[in-house]
């Protein structure tokens, strides 16, 4: 546990469990290519430095049918692969967000109880 705290492993593990939801969320704003999604995540305060890459995850989302893809010209650049939510992806996002909120609330409650016990 000490290693996990010192090496920032906890953040990585937490992010690993929800990065797919983050990607689906930024895709819900509109179709985006890989780097565009990195930008959108960054705008929400989520940096990928020191974390996993989004590319394998995008491949997995595509393979699982949660995103649709098409190639189109980007602004002044070469054609890019755009990802957008499929109907299955929207459903997965709704369910995932619900699971996240449920888990987060339970953890918040547990941590709040612990904090009370520690400070008492």
């Amino acid at each position: 546990m000490q290693d996990m705290v010192e090496n920032g492993g906890r953040r990585t593990q937490l992010l690993r469990g929800v990065l797919d939801l983050c990607l689906l969320t930024v895709m819900a704003e509109g179709p985006a290519y890989g780097y565009e999604m990195t930008r959108r995540l960054g705008a929400r305060g989520l940096s990928m430095v020191g974390e996993g890459s989004i590319y394998p995850l995008l491949g997995r989302l595509e393979r699982d049918g949660l995103v649709d893809t098409h190639r189109a010209a980007s602004d002044g650049g070469p054609p890019r692969k755009y990802y957008e939510l499929s109907s299955l992806g929207r459903k997965a996002l709704r369910e995932g967000v619900f699971e996240w909120e449920t888990t987060r609330d339970a953890v918040d409650a547990a941590l709040g109880l612990t904090a009370t016990e520690v400070t008492a």
Binding site: R16, L19, Y33, G34, Y35, T38, G42, S47, M48, V49, G50, E51, G52, S53, I54, Y55, P56, L57, L58, G59, R60, E62, R63, D64, S74, G77, P78, R80, K81
Partner: protein, 192 residues
């Protein structure tokens, strides 16, 4: 070409990723890295930890897309193939059971004929005519009982041998999920 992208291409070639797919991934990666550079964004921000391990990154991406040649697609990547195993178990089990039934029936048929020879007539008032009431199928079994027992024995042995082989190959007592995952097969870090 960016050296990172070049390293990825080499890895995709090594893994047998179809050329068209590799071209597409390389093109997207190249364009993303060029755009990030123009924005003053570090490659690490785009690639995460994969930036420090291009081969692992490339393998991870290709595997996630299910385009690595010779490896099972991740969604069907259970190394134990449960349906095939279940079907084989069912076939061998049925063969063993049928074999057992045939062996027992073949053995009983010869004694059944002897019993039938002393059966009495079921019609009141009619004299008993031993041997007349023998049923044709029982006679057939009596004459061919040995052959049936032989066929049944072969079926039984084949079924049991099949079950033994399945148990040896599957080894359920070692627990599920001990086999390497498709990701580990190609020796890559688990980025996601």
């Amino acid at each position: 070409m960016n050296s990172f992208v070049a390293a990825c291409r080499r890895e995709w070639r090594r893994l047998g990723v179809p050329e068209a797919v590799a071209n597409e991934m390389a093109s997207d990666l190249q364009a993303d890295l060029a755009e990030a550079e123009a924005d003053g964004v570090s490659p690490e921000e785009v690639l995460g930890n994969g930036y420090f391990d291009p081969e692992g990154f490339a393998a991870s991406w290709a595997t996630a897309r299910g385009v690595v040649a010779g490896s099972p697609r991740p969604e069907t990547g259970d190394p134990h193939r449960p349906w095939a195993r279940l079907s084989a178990t069912l076939v061998c089990g049925v063969a063993a059971l049928v074999g057992l039934v045939v062996v027992v029936a073949g053995r009983q048929s010869s004694t059944a004929v002897a019993g039938v020879a002393f059966r009495r007539s079921a019609v009141p008032g009619m004299p008993s005519v031993p041997g007349v009431l023998v049923e044709p199928q029982k006679l057939f079994m009596a004459h061919h009982g040995a052959a049936f027992a032989l066929v049944g024995g072969v079926l039984l042995l084949a079924g049991l041998a099949g079950l033994a082989v399945i148990l040896l190959v599957w080894r359920p007592w070692r627990g599920r999920g001990r086999g390497p995952s498709p990701d580990r097969d190609i020796g890559m870090p688990s980025y996601l």
